[in-house]
C-alpha cells in the first residue's frame, strides 16, 4: 500500500453518528464509540418512535490528520443482506487536522412503505464506507435493533449502555 494511503487510513477517525427528530432537534440515538474499527460490528439501539417522526436528521462527525483530495461516502441499508436503500455523497477536499460534520434531513417514507418494526428488528445493518476516490478509508457496520421503550428491562439496558 502506498505510504500516503496508509497515512490517510491511520489518521482518519469516525467520531460519532446520531439520529435526531428533525422537527424538535432532539437526539433519538447517538453512537460515540470509535466507529472506525473495521472488524467490529457496532450495535445501534434505535427507539421505535423514530418511525413516527415526520423527518429524521442523520449526522456524522469525522476527523482527519492528513488532507484528503476526493473524499466520498457510500451508505447502504441492508436487510438480511439485501440492499434496501443506498446513498452516495461527495465531500471533495478534507482539510488536514480538521474535524467535520455532515447532517442530512430525510423526510420519512409514507407509512405504507415502511416495514413493520418487528420485522426490521435486528435484521437491519447500516453499512457506511468512506473513500478517497477509489481508496477505501474506513468501513463501519451498524446493526440496528428497535428499542421497545415499553419494556422496562430494555430501557435500563439502554440507559446502562450510554
Amino acid at each position: 500500500m502506498p505510504g500516503n494511503a496508509e497515512n490517510i487510513l491511520d489518521g482518519f477517525k469516525l467520531n460519532w453518528m446520531n439520529l435526531r427528530d428533525a422537527d424538535t432537534g432532539k437526539i433519538l440515538w447517538q453512537g460515540t464509540e470509535d466507529l472506525s474499527k473495521p472488524d467490529h460490528e457496532h450495535e445501534a439501539r434505535v427507539p421505535k418512535k423514530i418511525l413516527k417522526c415526520r423527518a429524521v436528521s442523520r449526522e456524522i462527525n469525522f476527523s482527519s490528520i492528513e488532507p484528503i483530495e476526493k473524499f466520498r461516502l457510500e451508505q447502504r441499508i441492508l436487510f438480511k443482506g439485501r440492499c434496501l436503500e443506498e446513498w452516495f455523497f461527495e465531500f471533495g477536499f478534507v482539510i488536514p487536522n480538521s474535524t467535520n460534520t455532515w447532517q442530512s434531513l430525510i423526510e420519512a417514507a409514507p407509512e405504507s412503505q415502511m416495514m413493520p418494526a418487528s420485522v426490521l428488528n435486528g435484521n437491519v445493518v447500516i453499512e457506511t464506507k468512506f473513500f478517497d476516490d477509489d481508496l477505501l478509508v474506513s468501513t463501519s457496520n451498524m446493526l440496528t435493533s428497535q428499542l421497545n421503550l415499553n419494556q422496562p428491562r430494555h430501557f435500563l439496558d439502554y440507559l446502562s449502555e450510554q
Partner: protein
C-alpha cells in the same frame, strides 16, 4: 365606402391576430425559470461571525455551546421546492487558506458578517469577501450577506454594511439580511432569498 371600411376593419383584425401570434411566439421562446433539484451553497465569513450559530438555528438545535469549526459542517436539507447542500467552512486563518478548494461547482454564497466588529475586523471581512468573489470559479454567483450580532450595543446597521460592501458585490445578484439570535427567521429568509437569486441567475 362601407366596403373600404369593412376591408380596413378586416385588415386591422388580421393585424391584431398576427401580432397576438407574434407575442405568443416570443413568450414561448423565453425559457421558463428552471429550479434545480439541488443547489450547492458555500457559507463563509471570518472566525466568530456566527456561521455555525445561524445554521444551528436553522435546524432547531442549541446555539449556546458551539465550538469553532476546524473543517467543514455540511447541512443537506429541503427548502422551498429544492434541496440545499450548505457547506459551512471554518473562518480561522488556518482554515481560510483552504477555502478555494471548495469554490468549484457552487451556485450561491452565504457570507456572514459580525455587525459589532471593530473597523479593522470589518476591513478584514471585506478583504476576505473580495478574495472569494474575485475567484474565477465564483464569477456571477449570487451572494446573500447575513448580518449578525445586531443585539450588541455598538454595531453597524445593515444599511451601513451595505454601503461598505456594495463595491465588492458587483457582477452578481446580491442581498443583505439581518439575523437575530433566538429565531430561525433571519437565516431561513436569507436562504430563501438566496434560492430565488440562484434560480434567477440560471
Amino acid at each position: 365606402m362601407p366596403q373600404v371600411l369593412e376591408s380596413i376593419q378586416l385588415g386591422l383584425a388580421a393585424c391584431c391576430i398576427g401580432l397576438g401570434k407574434c407575442c405568443q411566439w416570443i413568450q414561448c421562446q423565453k425559457p421558463p425559470a428552471v429550479v434545480k433539484e439541488q443547489y450547492e451553497v458555500l457559507c463563509l465569513g471570518l472566525k466568530g461571525a456566527g456561521k455555525s450559530t445561524a445554521l444551528a438555528s436553522l435546524v432547531g438545535e442549541p446555539t449556546d455551546d458551539i465550538e469553532p469549526t476546524t473543517g467543514f459542517n455540511i447541512k443537506t436539507l429541503p427548502l422551498l421546492d429544492t434541496t440545499l447542500n450548505i457547506k459551512e467552512l471554518g473562518g480561522g486563518q488556518d482554515v481560510r487558506v483552504f477555502w478555494n478548494k471548495y469554490f468549484h461547482g457552487q451556485h450561491g454564497i452565504l457570507f456572514v458578517v459580525d455587525a459589532s466588529s471593530n473597523e479593522q475586523d470589518l476591513r478584514f471581512s471585506k478583504e476576505a469577501l473580495e478574495t472569494v468573489l474575485s475567484d474565477v470559479a465564483l464569477k456571477g454567483v449570487p451572494c446573500v450577506v447575513l448580518v449578525t450580532h445586531l443585539d450588541i450595543p455598538e454595531h453597524k446597521t445593515t444599511e451601513q454594511l451595505e454601503q461598505l460592501f456594495r463595491g465588492t458585490l458587483h457582477g452578481r445578484k446580491w442581498m443583505f439580511h439581518p439575523f437575530h439570535l433566538g429565531s430561525d427567521e433571519g437565516i431561513r429568509q436569507g436562504l430563501e432569498t438566496l434560492v430565488d437569486l440562484m434560480i434567477r441567475s440560471g
